[in-house]
């Protein structure tokens, strides 16, 4: 199978290069048969990489430990679902995963894009295949071939790192990869538009759903990463501003900016240069993120395999930056805006500020992440910045963005009149003010928390008003009842109302982040039967009674589990168990260092988070770190809402606009969604 796999990689490389050369330099504009050949090249690359994928999975499932990759990341006693995820657990496998997914996306882009954009498609195939060829070359020439064999066959594999043996880790990397990988498709469309000199909104319409899909995958991937860090790493937080966490956030931020600014291009023909630049920047940041996580250039708590392949990515980063921006420069005059900004009080301007804030956050995160390198290069001393820096800069910017999330949908395109402002802002502002008043009465005095939650009230007011007005308009126009009107409203204007639901999801994230400011932590040391207590910021008192430590064996690990009985305000609510685990190979020898499983009791208000820290004297006496983390559940709820909104926005079908209709769009900016006007 390894021979077949390596052969498939070579086939993919040659096919990819051939198809890219044909697409970028061939005379397919004059010979339609060649354009078909380019498209088929994309399918062939995809087929070759699928063969390689099957070959690797077959090796993993057959426990063929003669394959170095299989021996390094799996073992005989590894549960089946982790055999699936072992495919991308290591560097070599994740490169193959990347290549195969990109080839699937590339093939789908060829198959699904409407014939109206057929002049872009060969270029799209060319760019995509070049990137795929790059990944395959790294595998073949960068010493990262997953099919490499060992000179002998170990009796058992090394097994999968315990921290990766977590359901979140089965889903988190592929989701993040899907996000990262799918960025290449909208990027390829942007480059195709530049190459083909078709710089109207065509390319944006052709790739819009890809950009949305990429954004959605990144959002889910980042949130799963937060969840994994929360349940697995035992420090009770979701975000530590580690370079590995910052890397996907950078692409997410610029992509978010892009999704907003393309609306201005579609409706008003402005910001063409900015949009192309944002797309190029997003792609470059995704490669940059791969570089910093894979090269070890920046110290991170997460050490991925550090090898020279990082420098392949650095090379890709530099080459694609130079080529893309040179191309953009040569097409610069064709990207003239069609109109000028008419007023500072307009939706365009709100979107522009939104873009500035998002790019500002991205820049500060990039700067903070790179600062150790920059300071060492400039001043000769490495200086790092941590969470205090990122929070200081990004909390105010984040709150400004939250404000704009509420303002944007309320304000008219082109130029808002005083009447428009009055009509639109009364309800949302009142809703924000009520939120502030309630919180003040409830005793909240923290400035940032108060601001964040009041703004959350304001944004929710905005969204509620938009939905209410839309439903009311449909009811009077079509005589539908409220539920039918709501369903039709969303179905007929998916992008707009899906977008509002995404906004609600984002508001929920903000609320959850606010909660983290109020976490409480206590270290306790208990003899069996003894009790200690901790008080939560919501005013509950938790009494924790140590029930003892039990030792037992599971399929691939020894467990010692400490259990606490939990009483809240005197009432028994649950028991919580936290474990120390020692993983074993199939001969019973320990593998990896011991690991800890935290115990969590979660409700909508707060999480009780217990980490068993071992016994100080080898008896059942146990130490625990206990935390109360307010509002953490809301991260996962926010993610669900955001995903739902994203899916509504992307759902295929429904009324489509062939060309942007600026006149109608201006009207709908006043909050009257006309039937059949897709925003």
């Amino acid at each position: 199978m390894t021979l077949l796999g390596t052969f498939a990689l070579w086939a993919a490389l040659l096919l990819g290069c051939w198809s890219a050369a044909l697409a970028l330099f061939g005379p397919w504009q004059r010979r339609p048969a060649l354009a078909v050949a380019v498209t088929r090249g994309s399918y062939a690359v995809c087929a070759a990489l699928l063969v390689a994928t099957v070959a690797l999975w077959k090796g993993i499932f057959a426990h063929d430990f003669n394959i170095e990759y299989v021996a390094s990341y799996t073992s005989r006693n590894l549960p089946t679902y982790y055999l699936v995820s072992a495919f991308w657990a290591g560097q070599k496998g994740s490169l193959l995963f990347w290549a195969v997914i990109l080839s699937i996306f590339g093939a789908l882009a060829q198959a699904l894009t409407s014939a109206r954009h057929k002049l872009l498609l060969p270029y799209v195939a060319g760019v995509t295949n070049l990137v795929i060829a790059f990944f395959v070359s790294v595998m073949l020439f960068g010493g990262a071939n997953p099919f490499e064999r060992l000179g002998f066959t170990p009796p058992d594999g090394r097994g999968l790192n315990p921290q990766l043996q977590n359901p979140g880790m089965v889903m988190h990397p592929p989701m993040l990869y899907l996000g990262y990988i799918s960025i290449t498709i909208p990027f390829a469309f942007a480059i195709a538009a530049l190459l083909a000199r078709r710089l109207d909104t065509g390319w944006i319409i052709a790739m819009r759903k890809w950009a949305l899909a990429s954004w959605l995958f990144l959002s889910i991937g980042i949130t799963l990463g937060m969840w994994w860090a929360y349940v697995e790493l035992g420090w009770g937080g979701v975000w530590a501003w580690d370079p590995v966490e910052n890397a996907p956030l950078l692409s997410w931020l610029t992509l978010t900016a892009f999704l907003h600014s393309v609306m201005i291009q579609e409706k008003r023909g402005m910001l063409k240069r900015w949009n192309v630049s944002l797309m190029i920047g997003t792609f470059l940041l995704s490669i940059f993120g791969t570089f910093i996580t894979r090269s070890g250039a920046i110290a991170s708590v997460h050490s991925f395999t550090q090898s020279d392949i990082g420098y392949f990515f650095l090379a890709l980063l530099l080459v694609s930056a130079v080529l893309s921006f040179t191309l953009l420069y040569t097409r610069w005059p064709m990207l003239e805006a069609e109109v000028q900004l008419e007023s500072l009080v307009s939706r365009e301007s709100a979107f522009l500020f939104n873009n500035l804030a998002l790019v500002g956050i991205a820049f500060s995160v990039l700067w903070g992440t790179l600062f150790p390198i920059i300071s060492e290069a400039v001043r000769g001393t490495k200086i790092t910045v941590g969470p205090p820096f990122f929070n200081r800069v990004n909390v105010p910017l984040g709150l400004f963005l939250l404000l704009l999330t509420g303002v944007g949908p309320l304000i008219a395109w082109r130029k808002a009149s005083a009447a428009n402002l009055r009509r639109q802002f009364i309800v949302p502002v009142a809703s924000g003010a009520i939120a502030a008043a309630v919180l003040l009465v409830a005793g909240l005095r923290d400035f940032y928390a108060l601001t964040a939650l009041s703004l959350a009230g304001f944004v929710l007011g905005t969204v509620a008003q938009e939905f209410y007005r839309g439903v009311r308009a449909r009811r009077s126009l079509h005589g539908e009842n409220a539920a039918v009107a709501l369903a039709h409203l969303v179905a007929r204007n998916r992008r707009r109302y899906g977008g509002y639901i995404v906004h609600v999801g984002i508001v929920i994230y903000f609320v959850a982040f606010t909660g983290l400011a109020f976490k409480v932590k206590k270290e306790i040391d208990l003899q069996p039967g003894a009790t200690d207590s901790i008080r939560s910021p919501f005013g509950h008192t938790y009494e924790l009674t140590h029930m003892g430590v039990s030792q037992y064996e599971r399929l691939n690990r020894q467990v010692s589990a400490a259990t606490l009985e939990v009483r809240r305000d005197g009432k028994r609510i649950t028991t919580i168990t936290s474990e120390k685990r020692q993983y074993l190979d199939s001969f019973g020898n320990p593998t990896f260092e011991p690991s800890t499983e935290v115990g969590i009791h979660s409700d909508l208000r707060e999480d009780l988070y217990v980490v068993y820290a071992g016994s100080p004297d080898g008896t059942e006496r146990a130490r625990f770190t206990v935390m109360i983390n307010p509002l953490v559940s809301w991260f996962w709820i926010g993610a669900a809402v955001l995903t739902m909104g994203g899916l509504i926005t992307m759902w295929p079908g429904g009324p489509q606009l062939r060309t942007p209709r600026r006149r109608l769009a201006v009207q709908s900016g006043y909050g009257v969604p006309l039937a059949g006007v897709a925003e």
């Binding site: 021996a71 390094s72 657990a89 290591g90 560097q91 060992l150 000179g151 002998f152 170990p154 090394r158 790192n161 921290q163 990766l164 790493l233 110290a299 708590v301 997460h302 050490s303 991925f304 395999t305 000028q340 900004l341 007023s343 500072l344 307009s346 301007s349 522009l352 500020f353 500035l356 804030a357 500002g360 820049f363 500060s364 700067w367 903070g368 300071s375 001393t381 490495k382 200086i383 790092t384 910045v385 941590g386 205090p388 820096f389 200081r392 800069v393 910017l397 270290e523 990896f592 260092e593 011991p594 690991s595 800890t596 980490v611 820290a613 016994s615 100080p616 004297d617 130490r623 770190t625």
Partner: protein
Amino acid sequence: MKPGTRFALGAVLIVGSVSLMIVQGIKQTGTYFLTPTQLVARTEQDPHFFNIGLKVSAKVVPGSIKRDAMHQRVDFAISDGTKSFPVTYVGLVPDTFTDANDIDVVVEGKLGRDGTFHATDVIAKCGSRYNAVWQQSGKKT
């Protein structure tokens, strides 16, 4: 004033304040990140370079970890091959913190005049995804 100009003013205001926040933030929260050799060199140059909050990245000297479970105290030594010094830390150390196989740690804290590093935080690199090195014998190292 034209709307474009007004927007430009607003943009300058935002970009300016973001830059200011970044510069101030780095000034006030940035910490030195040194290797033991660099740290020793600094203290030799500047006799006041003690008891300043900083981070040191090094390897744990194998066999040097002494754990006092009763008081949750850990003493160990770190080294970058040329310079090494003792570290003392009170608190919970991560699971990955062992002196078995040459692990990388980042310690945050202050170097006292006594030559001991008083750590307030010990971060052991989580070994997720490091490559196993296979040898001919079939043993893992």
